[in-house]
Amino acid sequence: MLELRSITAGYARNAPVVRDVSLTVASGESVGLLGPSGCGKSTLARVAALLHRPDSGTLLLDGEPVRRWRHRAPREKRTAFGVVFQQARLSADPRLALTDLIAEPLRATGRGAEVPGRIAELAPTVGLTPDLLTRRPHEVSDGQLQRACLARALALRPRLLVCDEMTAMLDASTAAALVAAVEDYRAATGAALLAVGHDRALLGRWCDRTVQWDSLA
């Protein structure tokens, strides 16, 4: 479904963070990407989710090469990915209540009418109680906020989930709950998963296969 071919990407010219990396995620497959801190995993995850334009290389989505990134990418391609970031605090707009945070992708794609139904569906799957939904990010804990971020990523029913160190900042029980929520969603929809992290034990149990960063180049 997603194929990255010899991707080179970075934030400054002549200093790529990711050099000549190739990775394939088949339809419905879950792939764990293991690597030490600072090796470029997150950058690769951003490239894969069409959020960062690579300097060179090809990205194939359903066999078709993608040529445009971020806002320039067609909306249906962008929303095929659901992304969960490492730091929930930074990936939530501080002004939005959790309901609005989760509903944002639906509203942004003109499906505001579906909001109440989808919230009622998503909140229990990620373990958010109704009283939490009215709070704003600074009024909830990191774990609760990450649950909302996962719900936001699932709101548009993506075909591929990109979890960039989703559980790195969380305690074990919250991590387990979030992984279970992702797996329930995948079991129900057959979505693929690209989980990035450096916890070998977690990714080993969670994913169909894990790949080492060093083996990709």
Binding site: H71, R75, R78, F81, V83, R89, S91, D93, A108, A153
Partner: protein, 299 residues
Amino acid sequence: MTCDAPAPAAAPERTEWRSHGPRRRSTRALRVRTSAVLVAATVLAVLLVPPLVQLDQQAVDLAAKLRPPSWAHPFGTDDVGRDLLLRCVYGLRVSLLVGVAAALTATVVGTAVGAAAGALGGWADRALMRVVDTFSSVPHLLLGIFIVAMFRPGVWPVVISVALTHWLSTARIVRAEVLSLRSRPYIDAAVSGGASRWRVTVRHLLPAVLPQAALAAVLMVPHAMWHESALSFLGLGLPTHTASLGTLIQTARGSLLAGQWWPTLFPGLFLIVPTLAIAGLAGAWRERINPRHRSELML
């Protein structure tokens, strides 16, 4: 162990980490309160005096010209015997109107340009910022005089002149804020959630820069008032029969040399006091929304 006597209500402890202490806080509160009272008094005077008092600010009384302050005329009279207190209030009304209108226009223009430059990036950003640089390279009073000179004297040409020369700093502030916010993960999340560029700007970026832009707008009000006064003082702003603080000071210039100090002093005070009061309030507000302070609250 018994839980007898409650802890003695001793003098408040001085802890190491409280570096400012109560004295600093009380002067700050005093400053804020004084500023608030003065701003409120200014706004009330400007809004209420003209409709309530029903006196003619243009009433000429040549028999009572250039009278020093007295009970009948607390601020004295000008060179044709008009009451200066009333003229000052009317002048402040016009100056404040010009100040607020110019500051609002400049902030709207500056925010729009800054947000567009920051959100679009690339060549649009470079082009817009070169326009800002070009405007900034000309002394802004000179540019303001040039703009005012193209129109018939009146309130709106002055507003346009001040607004068109003062949106630059707001544009720079807003662009810098937008650039720093644009790379945050929550913007990535919005992009991934299918949000258009417009939606990201309006829903996520602009609300975040609005406090800074509003602060810039408030600080610009006194600055714009001074500009209006400067233009009027140079005879380019408002027509002389329209009382504004600038025209009042300009017409009083001659009598100052003859020893009549009151026609220049009182309009001058009317210019200085609201300026300091607004600056005092804005300073307190800036301390509140200080990004470092805010990030401490958020994280």
